[in-house]
């Protein structure tokens, strides 16, 4: 379970998050929607401790992420993250991209790590790309590579940061299909997304964030189709 309790985050004088409370249970999919600069992505980075926070706390399975004694490297093995710009490692082949972390972080031997990597690459439909370098692939393929790279660490949670925003429209579908697959397998996910229809379809809950505050949170269908908050209504009328 991920518990976000009264989290405040600022960069210098700029306040990004102004008291966020959110709970995500195991097996749940929560989407976070909102305009640019609302703090959605920053919230994700606070969950795996890439960003520090000024107030409040984030608990992942009861472990305080921002406590000084927490071993963040260990904790991050449980929390996979996929990025808007996919961030594949350009100097490594597709297979090495996926097998590296299991090998050096989890201590698997080379053969085990490669078998694991192959399994996950096949899972996301990249079974024929093992020896290719990421830059030779399309954005959609690189994003699926990034998902496989994360899955190979066998995480309990996935944080997805606008993972279709930088893709050409015709490539969005293949990535969303991969997420549907994960959801059906019971993966716990927090997605920051601009894909409203997709969010409605796959999420259990949707949270609408504006200016660092969760303005509305509720069952996915209800938030999208019948929002109760005026700000949510205004935002949805612009994007839908």
């Amino acid at each position: 379970m991920i518990q976000i309790q009264g989290v405040h985050k600022s960069f210098g004088a700029l306040k990004i998050l102004k008291g966020i409370d959110l709970e995500v249970n195991k097996g749940e999919v929560v989407s976070i929607i909102g305009g640019s600069g609302s703090g959605k992505s920053t919230l994700l980075y606070c969950i795996n401790g890439i960003e520090d926070i000024q107030k409040g706390r984030v608990l992942v399975d009861g472990v305080d992420v921002h406590d000084k004694s927490t071993n963040l490297n260990k904790l991050r093995q449980e929390i996979g993250m996929v990025f808007q710009q996919w961030n594949s490692f350009p100097h490594l082949t597709v297979l090495e991209n996926v097998s590296l972390a299991p090998r050096v972080v989890l201590g698997k031997n080379k053969k085990e790590a490669q078998e694991l990597a192959k399994h996950h690459l096949q899972h996301v439909g990249l079974g024929d790309k093992f020896d290719v370098f990421p830059t030779q692939m399309s954005g959609g393929q690189q994003q699926r590579l990034a998902i496989a790279r994360t899955l190979a660490m066998n995480p309990n949670y996935m944080l997805l940061d606008e993972i279709t925003s930088a893709l050409d429209p015709e490539l969005v579908g293949e990535v969303l299909d991969t997420l549907r697959l994960l959801r059906d397998e019971g993966m716990t996910m927090i997605c920051v997304t601009h894909e409203m229809a997709f969010a409605k379809e796959v999420s259990d809950q949707i949270a609408f964030v504006e200016e660092g505050i969760i303005e509305e949170i509720g069952e996915a269908k209800q938030v999208i189709e019948n929002p109760s908050n005026e700000k949510t209504k205004r935002f949805l009328s612009k994007v839908l």
Binding site: I50, N73, R76, Q77
Partner: protein, 222 residues
Amino acid sequence: MGDYEFHWLIVFQAFPQMLNGAFVTLHVAVFSMFSGIVFGVLLAIGKTSNLKIPKSIASSWVEVARNTPALFQIYMAYFGLGAFGIHLSPYMAVLCALTFVNSGYLTETFRGGLQTIPRTQYVASWSLGMTKFQAYRYIILPQMFRRVYYPMTNQFIWSILMSSLGILVGMGELSGETQRLQSLSYRTLEFFIIAAAMYYVMTKFVLYSADIMSRRLFKGEI
């Protein structure tokens, strides 16, 4: 001019000794380059970090190494340390001095290389549970070395050529040997023409091997 008579035979008779000198030159260049890379990487990471002490150590090192003549570094290592009772052999003095200068220049080269690598590469590494060290070891430095590979070979050429300053502390590298050998016969011009040709061959050889190596080392696009 006009009436100078070239005598080459004496140079060819001394050629094996010059080859020995060339070997010492390559030796000190390779080692000063290797240790220069090690220090350069550490200093560049120090310089790009937010930690005060590593940052200021790295900055002062670079300042001194880049803004004083290599000749002075060699004198400092040989005579300067000698004044404090630390007696280095000519070879060690030149090795230390060239390492110092190499790492100073390489720090700046590496820093430039590191700055071209987006922060997202670090974030992606950390999010997979890698430690800071692992992120540098497997993700950041391999990419950095690709980008600074050719400036690095320049520094290697520089090391080969600058090791000739060893002549001033009595080091038996190519220039020192040539100087000694010509003083026996006073065929100065012949000896130094051949020595210059040997430097040329060495640097060409290094550039050529660097090119071959780069094709084997760097397969992915970047």
